[in-house]
Amino acid sequence: MKLVYFAWVRERIGKAEEEIALPAEIGTVGDLLSWLQTRGATYEAALQHPETIRVAIDHEHVEHHAPLSGASEIALFPPMTGG
């Protein structure tokens, strides 16, 4: 599973992307955010307010209750400020 990070999520985690093998019990986006917070201080700093984190699976926005099954690229980022 490829994870990609943008903006201050990227800065706080300290990397733009990584390959991660997820434990089998991680079924949803919400599970993923909770589990990532256990991976160390940088993840904790980035994801301490998970409700503010936006997530896309394979280039499409998803809600936190969305399932991860079939995903090949999961992106985590703050609310967008383009335009």
């Binding site: 943008f6 896309a56 992106a75 967008m80 400020t81 383009g82 335009g83």
Partner: protein, 156 residues
């Protein structure tokens, strides 16, 4: 009216030329009654900023803006829709984004351009970081609740 050409979406580092974009869609046509352009321009926030740095999610930026653009062409009778969004370091006074709509009637051109901008602001994967006049990096710009409210008004 004739069916719209597919929306034109471009994500690019360089600037754009509004006159050339208008000319590209209107030359030789006699069925367009209204052209609306929206240009979003980098501000210096009262002199505080030296630049904005726009980060984007390559691949998703194109895909998401195309989805927004197709919603607009499904909802309004447009002859054209062009969206150009820049990334990288952009200094005050420079263009950031262009939305260009053309239609037989003005209401469609106005409404579609405003719709696309509202959803660009809230759904296109771009993030702005401040570069300050004193040479330091500033904050990531925070999303505005008023932008979410603007996007919500198009429901139903």
């Amino acid at each position: 009216m004739s069916r719209p050409a597919a929306p034109q979406v471009r994500i690019q580092k360089g600037d754009f030329d509004i006159a050339a974009e208008i000319a590209a869609l209107s030359t030789g046509r006699t069925d367009i009654g209204a052209v609306v352009t929206f240009s979003g321009i980098c501000r210096d926030d009262g002199g505080r900023l030296s630049a904005l740095e726009l980060e984007h999610y390559p691949g998703m930026a194109e895909a998401e803006i195309e989805r927004i653009a197709r919603q607009a062409t499904d909802r309004w009778p447009l002859t054209h829709l062009t969206v150009i969004h820049r990334f990288g370091v952009i200094t005050p006074g420079e263009n950031i984004v262009l939305v260009l709509t053309a239609s037989t009637h003005r209401e469609a051109a106005f409404d579609a351009a405003a719709f696309v901008m509202d959803f660009l602001k809230t759904r296109a994967p771009f993030w702005k970081k401040e570069h300050l006049k004193d040479g330091s990096k500033g904050n990531w710009i925070e999303a505005r609740e008023t932008d979410d409210a603007s996007a919500r008004r198009w429901r139903g």
